[in-house]
C-alpha cells in the first residue's frame, strides 16, 4: 500500500474531485477553505498540489487565463486512478480505526 495520505492532502484531492473540470489552483484553494472551515495559505495548497503531482496521484494541464487574472494562465488538476486508490485507502484506514466505536464518543473521562 502506498503512503497514507495526510488530512490536508485528502482535502485537496477531494476538492479536485468535487470541482471536476473546474479544479484550478484558486478554485481548489477556495474549496479547501470552505470544507476545512478555516483560512488556508495559498502556499500550502500549492505545495500540496505540487507534491501530489510528483507522487503521481494527479495530473495537470494549462488552460487559458481570464481578464481578472491579467490574462495569466490557469493550471487545471485531474485525478489519476492512483489518486482515487490513495483516497479509498485513506478512507478505509480511518474506518478500520473507528470500527466498533460509536461516534460521537461519550462517557470516557
Amino acid at each position: 500500500m502506498a503512503d497514507v495520505l495526510g488530512t490536508f492532502e485528502q482535502a485537496v484531492l477531494l476538492a479536485i474531485i468535487r470541482l471536476n473540470e473546474d479544479a484550478y489552483g484558486r478554485a481548489v484553494f477556495k474549496e479547501v477553505e470552505l470544507r476545512m472551515e478555516r483560512p488556508v495559505a495559498a502556499g500550502a495548497v500549492h505545495a500540496t498540489l505540487e507534491r501530489l503531482e510528483r507522487k503521481g496521484l494527479i495530473s495537470s494541464r494549462l488552460g487559458p487565463g481570464t481578464p481578472v487574472r491579467g490574462g495569466r494562465s490557469r493550471r487545471f488538476y485531474h485525478m489519476k486512478p492512483s489518486g482515487l486508490r490513495a483516497l479509498n485507502d485513506a478512507r478505509a484506514a480511518v474506518e478500520n480505526l473507528w470500527q466498533g466505536l460509536k461516534w460521537p464518543l461519550k462517557g470516557i473521562v
Binding site: G25, R26, K30, A42, G43, E50, L62, R69, S73, R74
Partner: protein, 197 residues
C-alpha cells in the same frame, strides 16, 4: 487610471523569484484573481495588500524554513561548543563553522536558482535564510545562557568573543547571506539555462 487594483510590486517580484518557471503565471494569476475578486472588494487596498504580502511570505517561508533551521542549528552548535568545551585555539572550529555556513548559503542559493531559473532567487534566498535564522539563533543563545551561566561558562564566553558577538552576529550574517546566496543563485540559474539549452 487603471480600474484593476494591483498588488504590491515587491511581493510579485519575490513570488516570481521563488517559483518554478512553469508555475509563475498560474500561481501569480491565482493570487491576483483572489486579490481582485475577493479580498480587495471586501477589505480595501491596505488589507488586500497585507493579505497578498502574507501569502507571498508564506510561499517564501515554505522554501526557506528548513535551510534556516539547519543554518541556525549549526550556529548554535558552534556557540554551545565554545561555551561548554572551551579552547584557546579556535582555528579548526572557525574553519568548520565557516565552511558549513557558506556551504549552506551556497547550496540553498544554487537550489533556488536551479528551481526558478532566476539569479535573483539566490540573494533573496540568502537574505530570507538569515532573516528566519536570526531570531532562532538569538532565542537559542539566550536559552543556552539561561541554562548554563556558571563562572567557568562566563569565562569561556568572554574567551570566545563575548556576548555581544553571539547576539549581533546572527543579524550581521545578512551580508554573507546576500553574497553567497547570489553566487549560488548565479550558478544555479546558469545550470538551469544550460540544462534547458
Amino acid at each position: 487610471m487603471s480600474l484593476d487594483p494591483t498588488p504590491p510590486r515587491w511581493a510579485e517580484t519575490l513570488l516570481r523569484a521563488f517559483l518554478r518557471p512553469r508555475d509563475i503565471d498560474c500561481v501569480s494569476g491565482d493570487l491576483l484573481e483572489e486579490y481582485r475578486d475577493s479580498v480587495y472588494p471586501h477589505s480595501g487596498r491596505r488589507r488586500a495588500d497585507l493579505w497578498y504580502g502574507g501569502q507571498v511570505l508564506g510561499f517564501v517561508a515554505r522554501r526557506v524554513y528548513a535551510w534556516a533551521v539547519v543554518f541556525a542549528v549549526a550556529f548554535l552548535a558552534r556557540t554551545a561548543m565554545d561555551w561548554l568545551l572551551p579552547t584557546t585555539d579556535f582555528r579548526l572550529r572557525s574553519t568548520l563553522s565557516t565552511v558549513l555556513g557558506v556551504g549552506i548559503l551556497l547550496l540553498a542559493g544554487f537550489r533556488a536558482g536551479l528551481r526558478s531559473g532566476s539569479f535573483a532567487a539566490g540573494p533573496l534566498m540568502g537574505i530570507s535564510i538569515v532573516a528566519i535564522a536570526a531570531p532562532i539563533k538569538i532565542a537559542g543563545t539566550a536559552a543556552l545562557l539561561a541554562m548554563s551561566h556558571s563562572p567557568s561558562t562566563i569565562a569561556a564566553i568572554r574567551g570566545s568573543g563575548g556576548l555581544a558577538e553571539v547576539f549581533t552576529l546572527p543579524v550581521l550574517m545578512i551580508v554573507p547571506g546576500v553574497i553567497f546566496g547570489a553566487v549560488g543563485g548565479f550558478l544555479g540559474s546558469a545550470a538551469k539555462r544550460l540544462s534547458s539549452a
